[in-house]
Symmetry: C2
Subunit: 257 residues, 2 copies
Amino acid sequence: MDDPVLLTGAGGAVGEAILEGLEEDYYWKLLFHNPPAEQPNHEYHIGDVDNPDDVREAVEGVGAIIHLAGDPRPEAPWDSVLSNNIDGTQKIYEAAVEAGVEKVIFASSNHAVGSFETDQRTPEMYRPEDDFRLDGTEFPRPGNLYGVSKATGEVLGRHYHDKYGIKVCNIRIGNLTRGHPPIDYERGQAMWLSYPDCAHIHQCALEADYEYETVYGISDNDRKYYSIEGAKEALGYEPQDNSAEWQGDEKVVGPDA
Amino acid sequence: MDDPVLLTGAGGAVGEAILEGLEEDYYWKLLFHNPPAEQPNHEYHIGDVDNPDDVREAVEGVGAIIHLAGDPRPEAPWDSVLSNNIDGTQKIYEAAVEAGVEKVIFASSNHAVGSFETDQRTPEMYRPEDDFRLDGTEFPRPGNLYGVSKATGEVLGRHYHDKYGIKVCNIRIGNLTRGHPPIDYERGQAMWLSYPDCAHIHQCALEADYEYETVYGISDNDRKYYSIEGAKEALGYEPQDNSAEWQGDEKVVGPDA
């Protein structure tokens, strides 16, 4: 991707992981919801994703969009996800089509499929001896209204892809933490996404050639209930991290142990 | 279903077909968007589905909801489907859970899968010699933003079913016309839903025992690219009509020919 890349939701954790890993690799344009605490090293805008003028200005001149902006709270109330996540994502696609953007990478979420974690399946499905696995061919089963908004973002992408040919990759992001995997939280360990793997999967999605994909974005954890085969095949994703190599905040296996 | 049934969007064509066929079979409660031209024979309310107070009042005391209300135009603009169709459907589910409603039947649409009708497939897929068929196990591919709103209604139902146990049936309604099938419109003939079959499938959905279903609502047309097997199996649907029995507005095959 030689053209500038717009990163929306640049002030969030996923945006932070992406910029830390890929700062030098792209000409970035950043969209913040609130003024950033520190002056960014890149062109940036402050605006609301559900404001068409803000979005049009941010999208102008970019070749791809990594769309992270939205209310990130799993417990976010409906009104907030309706405007920030659903309406905001439609505005991004509308502006992308208008500006001739080639590709949109959409931050979907594990919460789009949260209801597969039934009382019958948990907590066993978080553990190595269990073999339940989702591969992205299943229908969404959102565990909360935030998850509904993410599933809706995926279907918006399907529509804009089919109608206008824009390339779309939905990444159902797991549990992103800096440094080490979540501690004392089996679910989060099974869907851990390290900062380096987060940057890497987004770079893969920027560089790979595809039409419309929905993949899981997690590290190569020993225990996982999301398949990473889709991301490997469609994007060439090669994760480097694995939550099983850690005990608490200490790495016990692998090169840095 | 012995408890009252709420019919939202009671002033529309689908509501008309349902009331004509099932007027005597249920204790109806009707929700209109605009005051009806004639005084209804049933308890009725006038209100907006995206107004929580209007919805709460309408939902009170009912055992099931047939939710038809929304902007019915395939070309409806985003702002309208966002509020009337997406937000309105969430409000219905929220009120249904609060009031302990047992079942919601949601008027989804052929437009939720409209993008399967590609330039490569059409117009051949509308014709008897073609065997392309969707069966409801495919992901939505909305052909327009109205279709996006219907796919979102389906996923809202999935969430409210998984989280609260409410029974949900999404009916992807074809092309409903009174009397005879659409004339000189192959697509509409292949997805024709007659008025009697429309009433019948909604009665089946009110009476059958299921958890969460997504079915196609069309008559038993010779040429169809939507399977009706799902509706037969899950709901016991037995359609009586077939667009192939008609030439223009005249029935040429069958009992009334």
